[in-house]
Amino acid sequence: MATYSTNEFKSGLKIMIENDPCSIIENEFVKPGKGQAFNRVKMRNLKTGRVLEKTYKSGESVEGADVVDLDLQYLYNDGEMWHFMNKDSYEQCEADANAVSDAKQWIKGEEMCLVTLWNDVPLSVAAPNFVVLEVTDTDPGLKGDTAQGGSKPATLETGAIVKVPLFVENGDLLKIDTRTGEYVSRAKE
């Protein structure tokens, strides 16, 4: 893998820090007119999600991380691993529960997910921003009650539980924002 000099640092660049892949969030160049230059770098550890800050003497080099983001189609879960496919090459890869993390409660199959691969192994999976899922279990709706206010829990076909308005019934299709885990609206399809 290539190494990058601090001169090439910019947000989004993937580098290796203490054996973990990290993504640069912010790179601040600090230099007195007549003195040593530094790069103060804020980055996210892509394995743990933790944000860390490090200072480099300008001109130092850091090993790059082989990290790519790909749009892959979710196929199925075999009970242990989640399987994805590249629709262009038909190549498949499998992600463990750790990588699928929160995304697993929103995907049921065929969705296009943003999969981050590190050395060709999925590191994290992001569900589509919006998904449509069927309600499998919720308390009976109150007919005609479309008034504001009031909510109840509903279990969706993937097992996720979301707060929904009182008028939602079993079998309804709901649009969910996966970034917040919130109900958006009822959906037709």
Binding site: N7, K10, N27, E28, F29, V30, K31, P32, G33, K34, G35, Q36, A37, F38, R40, E53, K54, T55, Y56, K57, S58, G59
Partner: protein, 318 residues
């Protein structure tokens, strides 16, 4: 994917006009004081030996095998003018520093450099203060480099052990702090001192450690300090000035020591400017000089926090 607006200036028209009026105010200030505007070449056969400044180079057809340097400061040519008897002079020049790019740095930037013959660095600090008032800012406070460290880190930068500086640097986020006093002090000053001074007015920091003297005279005090000052506004370095070293032998010694440092670091070693040294030998009048970053001054006046927002166009590699 280039958008339709990619040709637009990166500064607003309002800021571009603000720059015009700032330059006008500066010229009028200099005119009142009979400091003459000069215009020296950007291209030179000589670069700068400062280990912390990287020159940009080019070549021309007449001597295609010879490296030419884009000036990192108009200092050497202006001192040749002073030695030739020009009296006090100033220049507003584009200067170039390779590998410097960020919110407060652009590889090419605008510098106001002026030399006041017969002035020491205290008098020049006062004159810089008057210029600030003329352009609508406050008169700066003054604090020594040592006091700034004492107030914020309770440490004497001149006498503290290098290992003590190293430990402090690590505490402030430089994990791999190296055994280089100058670099350690630079790191602490920018990351722990100037940020924590809680200074709302412009501030002069003066009497720098001996290792940061460059082209400044030394004060034979205890400890020895370089007769140099810097101006900070809201923690941002705006200007750097000093009592100019007029001793040619001492200057050559410093250049050679800087070139040794560059060689040890594996950096390019630009030839020493022999014309500048010859001018020093023929006699540079006692004077003080200061370099002011025009773009950063404009950032302060227009309340922008990115140098791109005060520059018409940049290479845009931030």
């Amino acid at each position: 994917m280039a958008s339709d607006t990619s040709w637009h200036p990166s500064a607003s028209l309002k800021v571009i006009k603000q720059r015009a009026s700032l330059l006008k105010q500066i010229r009028s200030f200099m005119n009142t004081r009979e400091i003459i505007e000069v215009d020296t070449p950007i291209l030179s056969h000589f670069g700068i030996s400062d280990p912390y400044i990287e020159s940009m180079t080019t070549s021309c057809a007449a001597e295609s095998d010879v490296l030419l340097y884009l000036q990192s400061s108009p200092e050497f040519c202006m001192k040749r003018l002073l030695a030739a008897g020009s009296g006090s002079i100033y220049q507003i020049a584009h200067v170039f520093r390779n590998e410097e790019s960020g919110k407060r740095h652009n590889t090419e930037f605008t510098m106001l450099e002026w030399y006041h013959a017969g002035f020491d660095y205290y008098q020049l600090m006062n004159e810089v203060g008057e210029l600030l008032i003329d352009i609508g800012l406050e008169r700066p406070d003054k604090m020594t480099y040592a006091d700034a460290f004492k107030q914020t880190l309770e440490l004497n930068p001149h006498t503290a052990a290098t290992s003590e500086l190293q430990t402090l640097c690590k505490q402030h986020g430089w994990d791999d702090a190296i055994d280089d006093r100058h670099a350690l002090l630079d790191f602490l000053f920018s990351q722990a001192v100037i940020k924590n001074l809680e200074q709302s007015k412009p501030l002069f920091i003066y009497d720098y450690p001996e290792c940061m003297s460059a082209l400044a005279t030394l004060k034979q005090s205890e400890p020895i300090v370089s007769e140099r000052f810097e101006l900070f506004i809201s923690g941002m370095e705006i200007a750097n000035g000093f009592n100019e070293l007029i001793d040619a032998d001492e200057q050559v010694k410093r250049f050679e020591s800087e070139l040794t440092t560059r060689s040890n670091k594996g950096l390019a070693e630009p030839p020493i400017d022999k014309d500048f040294v010859a001018a020093l030998r023929s006699g540079l009048p006692e004077c003080s000089g200061v370099a002011v970053g025009i773009d950063r001054l404009l950032m302060v006046l227009s309340k922008k926090d990115d140098i791109n927002e005060v520059s018409t166009f940049t290479l845009g590699s931030n």
